[in-house]
């Protein structure tokens, strides 16, 4: 960037104060307020009550189910993101831009639509429903459906974070590794992934935050069975509808904490590699 002495458009003190003041005030109200109110409401009855709320069996079970979902969904979508980014960044083939658009498709589809769509594949009235029922395999309103819906919603995140970086870096280092006799997987593991490690870390953390927080798609496919198929976001809704506001907000602090950790990771990522992190 060129350092220039002349003030640019918008650098006049009044304009600057107005725009900056508006931006800061708007984000404090729109972003800071909701974050603050979660913790304020959760701790309103005191720390002991907060801990007791978190320790409710149903809430603990919901936390367990949410973690179990993330343990399966996050590695699968990480592997998918790496495979997709490898094929798009390192090769030329027809239909590449179509494939890129297809990977981003889940971003545009409403989570409710995704949940309903899964119902018509694995539900009793869906394609595989009768067959699954005959063979005693429970997918819908159970753990498998929760994982599948989470996979749909978070499929694009890892590819989206590492793809631009892999495209910018080209293939020269990989070619050198191969010339030196490394295998394809060795090259991926020792050259490509270390080069994008910070973007990959942020992509994985964002996937994790979204898997743990997915609400719409999961609420369609989980069946909302208290203490059985309720993930943490569903448990928050349930407590909230039970007028147990303190319990709902106590559960919400767990997810808000994970969101804040994810954003902290992004700040670290940007410090480590200024080109790595993007929207």
């Amino acid at each position: 960037m060129t350092s220039r002495q002349r003030p640019r458009v918008g650098d006049a003190p009044v304009t600057r104060a107005l725009i900056l003041g508006f931006a800061i005030a708007a984000s404090a109200l729109l972003i800071g307020g909701p974050l603050a109110v979660i913790f304020a409401e959760a701790f309103k009855p005191g720390v002991a009550a907060y801990l007791a709320n978190l320790g409710q069996p149903d809430t603990l079970h919901a936390i367990g189910l949410t973690v179990a979902t993330a343990l399966l969904a996050v590695p699968i979508n990480t592997a998918f993101g790496i495979a997709a980014a490898w094929s798009i960044a390192k090769f030329e083939f027809p239909g590449k831009s179509l494939l890129t658009a297809l990977i981003e498709l889940p971003f545009s589809v409403s989570p409710i639509v995704a949940g309903v769509a899964y119902l018509f594949v694995y539900g009793a009235q869906g394609w595989f429903g009768p067959w699954l029922q005959e063979h005693g395999i429970k997918v819908m309103f159970a753990y498998p459906a929760i994982v599948l819906a989470s996979l749909f919603v978070t499929a694009p995140f890892v590819a989206r974070e590492i793809l631009p970086l892999m495209q910018a870096q080209g293939s020269q280092e990989e070619e050198a590794a191969l010339t030196l006799g490394a295998s394809g997987f060795r090259t991926l593991w020792s050259v490509t992934l270390p080069n994008v490690r910070w973007a990959l870390l942020y992509g994985v953390m964002l996937t994790n935050a979204r898997v743990m927080g997915e609400f719409g798609a999961v609420s369609v496919v989980s069946g909302n069975i208290r203490g059985v198929t309720n993930t943490l976001p569903l448990q928050i809704e349930l407590l909230y509808q039970d007028y147990n506001s303190a319990g709902a907000f106590a559960a919400a602090t767990v997810l808000a904490g994970i969101a804040l950790l994810t954003i902290a990771a992004k700040i670290v990522v940007e410090k480590m590699d200024p080109d790595a992190a993007r929207g």
């Binding site: 060129t2 931006a23 307020g33 109110v37 990977i103 589809v109 409403s110 907000f249 808000a256 929207g279």
Partner: protein, 274 residues
Amino acid sequence: MLRSPLPGFRLAIGCTLVYLAVIVLLPLAALVLQASGLGWERFFTVISGDRALAAFRVTALAALGATAVNGIVGLALAWALVRYEFPGKRLLDAAVDVPFALPTAVAGVALTALFARNGWYGSALEPLGITVAYAPLGIVVAMAFTSLPFVVRSVQPVLQDLTDDLEEAAETLGAGPARVFRSVVFPAIFPAYLAGLSLAFARSLGEFGAVIFIAGNQPFHTEIAALLVFIRLEEYDYQAAAAIATAMLAAAFAMLLITNAIQLWHLRYLRTDR
């Protein structure tokens, strides 16, 4: 076709395509097929029913409102983050990502608590006669929250890459700041701005978690399309759910096409810039 000397193309593209087919395309195909089982006439009757039309209208109008809010707040944020140096800049930049990382249900309960009659914002707005919670305005607020990052993150990189020479030239030719912004800066960021707005709008059309807590969910008044799908499911009216969901999917595809068209146009701008 395979000009790269790197290995693993078949494996990587094979895994990618199979995964996308199973996880993304298969369910969407099942949904569309289910809806097409209704036949055109039935399909049209369902999605043009009074309650469905009202839900589409509420959703589209609220999404427009949220996009308008983002058009102002998002542009101001992008501008502040690129053009100004100030303490806490990194924190403000990080704050923009909160709506991406915070689960929608958590955002929903938090916004409802803020705007409820006895909440921090609600108690200040009530004397002014403004009701947000359990009113259409609440839907706008929830949608604006969840889609806030799109405009900022679309405009930010383009504004960052804007070189000074055009602005300088305009100033030298006697243009005032307002003129420079209108004739030089804004045209350059406009495609990215538009792409961000269309992403925000598309996201708002499908938003569910944040909205249902604050909306009040009264049919014809504050009921969004995604909720109507959910209600039809709970009534075991799978055909109606499939029809409304397919209409939403069609809207999402249309928005995706529009966004991609804008981005192609935008790429043309970037190429002439550099």
